[in-house]
Amino acid sequence: MKVTDTFRFATNAATAAPLRAGLLVLAMSIGVAAVVMLTALGDGARRYVVDQFSAIGTNLVIVLPGRSETRGFNPANLVTSTPRDLTVEDAEALLKLPSVKRIAPILVATTEINAAGKLREAMLLGTNDEYIKVRQMKVGLGRFLSKDEVGRGSAEVVLGAVIRREIFGAENPLGKTVRVGDRRLRVVGVLAEGGQGMGMTTDELLIVPVATAQAMLNSNTLFRILVEVGSREQIDEAKARVLKTITQRHDGEEDVTVITQDAILETFDKILNVLTLGVAGIAAISLAVAGILVMNVMLVSVTQRTGEIGLLKALGATSSAVRQLFMVEAILLSLSGAVVGVGLGYAGAAVLRQLYPTFPAYPPLWAVLAGLATAIISGLVFGVMPARRAARLDPIQALSKR
């Protein structure tokens, strides 16, 4: 029997019982659609987090005080074991490195803002004029901090959009004086709304020059130094140089931790990929259920078509030809279910994206292929038993049955 004829006969047999075929295609398509949609969700979550993390800037190397790994004996340990502060001078020194493009020191504290008779708690962020470029944020009104010399903080502040709205309402805040902690600062700008990164919104920030913040907090140490590197390829080199420079400046003691944005992104990527896989695995259970349904339907079909099978054998069909006919029918049914399911899955993901525009719920290609493959394989596996049963039917008994 020719392959094309086998397919034609099997297609004919499958479509001859539209309700049965329809239900089976439905069950299989729900399974595949579940895989496609749930992986779209999982992968969407991964992209969302990665995007959020990328939003803190590009090609970043982050320096934080304190050492996160345990090292063996170091001569410096004998002299002193007190971690040195990470200072603004350290940050300035990093700027001299060849691959470093920009730096932004960061100092963070909670404080109060008091203006126009209103009092509000807010996050104070001390930094320099480069911060806005490193973080790729936008100013909505006025200007960002001016470039000032190290150690000399001017009395100016840039407000987050929410702070501005709550304190000044529709009024123009530029040039107004606000009291932050125990200082009086002049408002020079307002950040554009909606900036975020690392799960922190910039809408409720007060940004002041780093020296001003240090003076307000009576502290010399920095919370972080953000280092922007010229290009992606230079990141590893820059990381080593940054560590070396700071170690030198800190009397040979490696008392800072340098992390790259890439490393963090990679970690998140890995975790969320595993999550997506897990979700896909759960959805695959419904595919297994659909596979069992394929088997059931095909077994019923073999029973209903006993006479036909007997006839085919009497007409000279070999057992393997009969087996192939039923296998092909099972595979065709599960394949069409899989194709419909992929369509449904894509449609579902599109609806999700409509409902939550910020959530990039696109089904990953590997999941679509895996869903299709699983459907076909389950059709194959669960089609084997009914097909074998059909092939083994005794033609005499099969023919005598009406």
Binding site: K2, K313, A314, L315, G316, A317, S320, I396
Partner: protein
């Protein structure tokens, strides 16, 4: 082999035994049957229910195997053949006609007739040629695209006969071919079968119907799995039957 003379041996059964087990009881469907059938014969197999008629027919049709004995079909020992070889022999040399027609309900008349050609792997053009020729021969051209449930009983059996003969088999095995038909259409079908026999095709009919059995040139009467009477009466003209 079809060009052999009509007197050469087609089927040769020797010492055939076939036993079925129904629960604890043993049923001797065929007991030590010896039978020789020549090419072009017209045989009626008769006998009461359970006498082994159908078992004999299935055995000749290679759907069943004997427990003991040898079966030579056209000089070839077919008792030793494997399942796939038997299928090939069935496809080429044997045509079946059933009481209940056994048409595939979802396929049109033409597609039902085409089925043996499809299974044998004929090309599409060759199939189309042979099917249209068969439709014409059996007067079914205007019924080609009708499903079996849209055909009359006589038309259905004609489709079944067209299907059984499309590959020009050496022997046509008919199990109660008129059992589900009224007298007039039954008569038509029998005439059709006799016409095929007249063209040289060996015809073996299993029947309860004495009138139908009497038309055959050779009558075999079976009782309890054995051949009780084997009468060859070439002189009997079918029209003389009562």
């Amino acid at each position: 082999m079809s060009d052999e003379s009509p007197t050469s041996t087609l089927v040769s059964l020797h010492g055939i035994n076939r036993t079925f087990y129904l629960g604890d009881s043993k049923v001797h469907a065929l007991c030590d049957v010896n039978l020789t059938i020549a090419h072009g014969e017209y045989i009626a197999v008769m006998g009461p229910s359970g006498s082994g008629k159908s078992t004999l027919l299935n055995l000749i049709g290679l759907l069943d195997r004997p427990d003991e004995g040898t079966y030579m079909l056209e000089g070839r020992d077919v008792t030793t053949l494997g399942a796939d070889e038997l299928a090939a022999v069935r496809s080429e040399r044997i045509g079946f006609i059933f009481q209940s027609f056994h048409l595939v309900p979802r396929l049109s008349a033409a597609a039902n007739i085409e089925l043996p050609l499809v299974l044998a792997g004929f090309s599409k053009t060759e199939r189309a040629k042979r099917v249209s020729q068969a439709l014409q021969e059996y007067g079914l051209t205007d019924r080609a695209n009708h499903r079996p449930n849209e055909l009359s009983g006589g038309q259905r059996q004609r489709v079944a006969i067209a299907r059984a003969t499309i590959l020009r088999p050496a022997v046509l095995l008919a199990d109660e071919p008129t059992g589900n038909l009224d007298r007039v259409t039954g008569e038509e079908v029998v005439k059709l079968l006799e016409k095929l026999n007249a063209q040289g095709m060996t015809l073996i009919v299993v029947t309860h119907d004495q009138t139908l059995g009497a038309r055959a040139r050779r009558q075999i009467r079976m009782v309890d799995g054995g051949i009780a009477r084997d009468v060859t009466n070439g002189a009997v003209v079918p029209n003389d039957a009562p």
